[in-house]
Amino acid sequence: MAAKADSILVTEGVSIRFGGLLALAGISLVMRPATITAIIGPNGAGKTTLFNCITGFYRPTEGRIIFRPDGRDVVLNRLPIHKIAQLGVARTYQNIRLFGQMSVLENLLVAQHHFVNHRLISGIFQTRSFRKSEAEAVEQAWFWLEFMGMEQLANQDAGTLPYGQQRRLEVARAMASRPRLICLDEPAAGLNLQESEELNQLILKLREEHGVSVLLIEHHMGVVMSISDHVVVLDHGEVISDGTTEQVQQDERVIKAYLGEEDAEELQSVTKGAG
């Protein structure tokens, strides 16, 4: 498929059904490497469900999810969650899921589990190679803490951090697992304006400095329009619009989905009247 040639993630007609509810109805999209793709849509549109399909928590009833970390196609549909993660897909959650009683730095060490030497005997006897691998992991952890500007919190329990810092730590933890694709589920939810602005800058920096592809669920339109390369709009489990920020902004279906049928007509008549 030509469209796939330069892509990191392709979904082909992904559908999922929960009892009577068709939560995703044939989602097809193509995501280019090292871009920020925003997924927007009203509550209950199926955004988180799509993330859950990509990261392996849900099995799509139909369709294929193809991940292309290094030019080779990997179909994710049937892989267990941890295998998908090991291929280079990381995520954050709409409701924060940190390891609350572990320290901030330990959270970042856990994320590197499959990169470090985790053999039992090496660890118990603390062999040279083990110590080296641990030191590297700790170094990486510090790197991400610095990146997020939270070095001074390294030894605090993650669960005791203020909300905004927890959100950041979740992103840092996802990045520490060295992903090719990172899925951020409403990372700015509950943040104040300034915190949210800082986080956006960090997300941009992630893509620029680390070449990671970002799939972002975000409600704040200003943010979406300013940092995304590509926007996909979901409603009732369907893609209703897909394109650049300008294309999506002008799409009538999007306006309708967001404002409701009547409001949209009203808006149009108002604009017409005004124009």
């Binding site: 988180t48 859950n52 928590f57 959650y93 709409q94 409701n95």
Partner: protein, 303 residues
């Protein structure tokens, strides 16, 4: 054929007892999410209370057996309920909202307390009650027959009646509504003016009462008991509750009867010594295929 019938009846009786005790586990679990490890001891206490009150009725010169039984039953249920209430007040309520393991340890401690309390107060010997009632129903011929004692019939009837009353209370009364609301969302129920503390106490009292019905019935049937019977009965009933799907009332009864039947059939046709092994193996098998039990709602964690 007749052996099968006999074992089915024995299993049904045993299962009813397990089911009645399992109600207490399942209701408490449903409402505060803890395993009330001391529940088996509550059942054991009720067996003692029954014997004590029955003897007391003798002391007071109540001669008519039905009157004595009624008097005994009422007092046993009330005092056992009070034990359930007190246990919750002392050992669990101070731990509400703490870690998941703290109440469990407290409950294990409480279970040791109750066991040793009864042992100290009443002695370690096996207690025996004289057979109160002898009636037997025989189905079949001279040689092959199924034997049902009248007491067994009473057990099944009492179980059905208790279940019916409980179902009615839970589904149709204000008390039951408060229970269900507290189970679904304690904070919300509290905001809506339900006294959730009292509701939780009530659940403990109901659970203890059901266990006391079981304790009375089993003592009535077998006549012998000691301070240690709570442990095995507790484990079995807890197994039954989990088998049926913990948190579900019909599940507790179903689990109890299933467990009773399989135990009794295994004991009758295969081996008595290993019937408990079979019971646990059954539990593991069911949970392997249905991790939340037969009638339990599958846990869906929202991601």
């Amino acid at each position: 054929m007749y052996i099968l019938g006999q074992q089915l009846i024995n299993g049904l009786i045993l299962g009813s007892i397990y089911g009645l005790i399992a109600i207490g586990y399942t209701m408490v679990y449903g409402i505060i999410g803890m395993i009330n490890f001391a529940h088996g001891e509550i059942y054991m206490i009720s067996a003692y209370l029954f014997a004590i009150f029955l003897a007391l009725a003798g002391v007071f010169g109540i001669d008519s057996l039905p009157v004595a039984l009624l008097f005994t039953l009422a007092f046993t249920i009330i005092i056992t309920g009070l034990y359930g209430f007190t246990v919750e007040r002392m050992a669990y309520r101070p731990l509400r909202g703490s870690t998941r393991l703290a109440p469990l340890i407290s409950a294990i401690g409480m279970s040791l307390v109750l066991q040793n309390f009864v042992q100290l107060a009443q002695g370690a010997n096996d207690q025996a009650l004289p057979p109160l009632y002898h009636g037997v129903l025989r189905l079949g011929g001279e040689e092959d027959f199924v034997q049902i004692t009248h007491i067994q019939i009473i057990i099944v009837a009492a179980t059905v009646i208790s279940m019916a009353i409980l179902t009615y209370v839970i589904n149709n009364t204000a008390l039951g509504r408060a229970c269900r609301a507290t189970q679904q969302d304690r904070t919300m129920a509290n905001l809506l003016g339900i006294n959730t503390d009292w509701t939780i106490s009530l659940v403990f009292v109901i659970g203890a009462s059901m266990a006391s019905v079981a304790g009375v019935l089993i003592t009535f049937n077998f006549g012998s008991f000691n301070f240690f019977i709570g442990f095995v009965a507790g484990i079995k009933a807890f197994t039954a509750a989990v088998l049926g799907g913990i948190g579900s009332l019909p599940g507790a009864m179903l689990g109890g009867i299933l467990l009773g039947l399989s135990e009794s059939l295994f004991a009758g046709f295969v081996n008595t010594d290993y019937k408990d092994v079979f019971a646990f193996a059954l539990l593991v098998t069911v949970l392997t295929f249905r991790p939340t039990g037969l009638l339990g709602r599958p846990e869906v964690e929202k991601i």
